[in-house]
């Protein structure tokens, strides 16, 4: 820090009642900010301390990894608006693309780490009340009379977009009616959603804590977490016959790390997700590890079901899927009209 920048900070700091100076200190070395999405809270809380130990052992430097959580789209927006993230670990590639479009992340980000920069995967499952009283076993059962569905808003939540796409893929591929069948299936489905929460965690709390709805469309890890937190005597997890492989990606925010001088530690942080320890921790928190050994060690924790991916021709990758389904005036806007 140069003397002139120091004095400038001092002047501005006193102008804002000391706040800026305090912020400048908070942004100093030895800290790393991971801006993530909703259901990863517990995983990254544990991973952050694991990484701090590894980094200390490797370099002798102390590091404090901080985390910020929220709906994936909202978090991407905050990074675009200036939240000083060193790394982003979001729910879908589209949200990182949105940051990359603003020039904060290099365009080739998805090729920089193995497996499309997704160190773990997940899928979409159903969480139902104990004993599955409405007998919901697969997607078509969701339309049974009297079933109320909880899922967050696809406009703000990454998980909600995966929920939507899983339902769409099932309808297109398994109900033999093509896109028209998918459209009417989802229209019916969203009529059974009383209210759309903004993030996956909000939806889980609505279902679990406030007792809303008969079924929660959820990330596999989120369903398992609710299961673990509230006891297996309250809920059952239902694996539908067909779902989608969700690949939550990670990236270093190039512009921020270069300005803050944190590139080395930020890159190490993301690489640590791919190490055996990182993979085992992901599996512990119910994310499907990429590493075969870690997956095998998890045993029957992750049932193998038939899954499609976002790169399937029916979607054609995130950019196309986003434009077709979730942008203003897209399929979702035509399908979901509140109060109908």
């Amino acid at each position: 820090m140069t003397l002139s920048s120091l004095s400038r900070r001092a002047v501005l700091g006193s102008a804002l009642g000391g706040g800026v100076a305090l912020a400048a200190r908070a942004q100093g070395a030895g800290q790393l900010l991971n801006v993530s999405y909703d259901p990863t809270r517990e995983f990254y809380r544990e991973f952050n301390s694991l990484f701090a130990e590894q980094w200390k052992a490797k370099t002798g430097q102390g590091i404090r990894a901080n985390a910020s959580h929220g709906g994936s789209g909202r978090q991407a927006r905050a990074v675009i608006d200036g939240l000083q993230a060193d790394v982003v670990t979001l729910a879908l590639a589209y949200d990182i693309d949105a940051i990359a479009e603003r020039g904060l992340i290099n365009a080739d980000w998805q090729q920089r780490l193995p497996h499309n920069s997704s160190p773990y995967t997940s899928t979409i499952v159903f969480l139902v009340r104990k004993g599955n009283p409405k007998k919901l076993a697969d997607w078509p059962d969701l339309l049974k009379p009297g079933v109320s569905i909880v899922t967050p808003n696809p406009k703000t939540s990454g998980g909600a977009r995966w929920n939507y796409l899983a339902a769409w893929a099932w309808a297109v591929k398994k109900s033999s009616g093509g896109e028209q069948a998918a459209r009417s299936f989802l229209t019916e489905m969203f009529r059974k959603v009383p209210v759309l929460d903004t993030g996956a965690r909000g939806a889980t709390t609505s279902f679990v804590q406030r007792g809303q709805g008969d079924v929660l469309l959820a990330w596999e890890n989120e369903a398992h977490l609710a299961f673990a937190e509230f006891g297996a005597d309250q809920f059952d997890i239902v694996y539908p016959g067909f779902s989608i492989l969700a690949e939550p990606p990670v990236a270093v925010v190039d512009r921020n790390v270069d300005r803050r001088g944190t590139r080395a530690v930020a890159e190490a942080y993301l690489q640590a997700l791919y190490t055996p320890e990182g993979q085992a921790l992901a599996a512990k928190h119910f994310y499907r590890p990429r590493d075969e050994a870690a997956l095998a060690a998890a045993g029957s924790r992750f049932p193998r079901i038939e899954m499609t991916t976002i790169d399937d021709p029916i979607f054609g990758g995130w950019k196309k899927a986003q434009a077709t389904h979730f942008d203003d005036g897209g399929e979702f806007d035509r399908i979901y009209q509140p109060g109908r």
């Binding site: 920048s5 400038r8 900070r9 501005l12 804002l16 009642g17 000391g18 706040g19 800026v20 305090l22 912020a23 400048a24 908070a26 942004q27 900010l33 909703d38 809270r41 517990e42 901080n66 985390a67 910020s68 959580h69 929220g70 905050a78 675009i80 608006d81 200036g82 939240l83 000083q84 603003r102 965690r201 909000g202 709390t205 804590q209 977490l225 937190e229 509230f230 300005r259």
Partner: protein
């Protein structure tokens, strides 16, 4: 003594009972719920939740933000109320409207304006980035949002009182040769001190409790930019219900102490004069 109302006694009792019942249901019940939920598993988890480093950081940050916002708004509110109550000038109605603006604006907007001004893509964003100054998603943003939201409290408490008092006492002081400062310290301030304190306390209660506006500018970095209300939300979303209610109870306690202090001041003020 003739009764002021014509209604039969039963109706009057019914109305009073209804009011008490509604008050209990809407105010006391939620308050009681916060404390019982917090203490559901005894004092141990409550103490643990409050001793957590992230909770400690949230408490410190909340106090810091209030410590900046309240004095600034006290001075600003005092100046604004003085201008409006003592003088007529072009734009007086506009100034009054501006002072009241934060009351009528949704807290989300109160937060968003700062993102639009100081965010990376805001009006001053590029300049701030070039000079390595972080305002939104850092403490200055929280201070600004709180300043904005709590701005009207002091002025709104003072204006009616000062208008009622009029400027006679100050004019008398001036004719006796008092300077502006002397008149302020010896005449104006003693007349309004109780109302001023009550406005300051209200301002403080809101500064510590504000959620919406600070949520927009916070960035939700735990241990760094989470105030107490935001920390409550985080804990609740992480299924740490006891912790969430413990912090909420502390927040409610701070508000209750503030209100009790305000009530006490009003009684003192009523006895010694100087209150509306």
């Amino acid at each position: 003594m003739t009764p002021a109302t014509a209604e039969p006694r039963a109706i009057r009792w019914l109305l009073v009972a209804l009011a008490v019942l509604l008050l209990g249901a809407f105010l006391l019940l939620p308050l009681a719920a916060v404390f019982t939920e917090a203490l559901r598993r005894g004092w141990g988890p409550v103490v643990a939740a409050l001793a957590d480093p992230d909770a400690q950081a949230a408490i410190r940050l909340t106090l810091l933000v209030a410590a900046i916002a309240v004095p600034v708004n006290t001075l600003g509110g005092l100046a604004g109320a003085w201008c409006i109550a003592r003088f007529t000038f072009p734009g007086r109605a506009l100034l009054l409207a501006l002072i009241e603006l934060p009351f009528s604006v949704s807290p989300v907007i109160s937060g968003l304006v700062w993102v639009l001004l100081f965010g990376a893509h805001g009006w001053f964003g590029p300049w701030l980035q070039a000079h390595d100054v972080q305002i939104v998603f850092a403490v200055p943003g929280l201070v600004l949002a709180t300043l904005f939201v709590t701005f009207p409290f002091v002025a709104r408490t003072l204006i009616p009182l000062m208008q009622e008092q009029g400027r006679a006492a100050e004019e008398a002081a001036a004719t006796l040769g008092a300077s502006g400062w002397q008149s302020f310290w010896r005449v104006t301030l003693p007349q309004i001190r109780w109302a001023l304190l009550s406005g300051v306390l209200l301002c403080n209660a809101r500064a510590m409790g504000e959620f919406g506006a600070v949520s927009v500018v916070s960035g939700h970095i735990r241990g760094e930019t989470n105030t107490m209300p935001l920390h409550v939300e985080i804990l609740y979303n992480e299924y740490q219900f006891v912790g969430a209610f413990a912090v909420a109870a502390l927040l409610a306690l701070l508000a209750l102490v503030t209100l009790a202090a305000k009530a006490l001041l009003e009684r003192l003020g009523a006895r010694r004069g100087g209150m509306a």
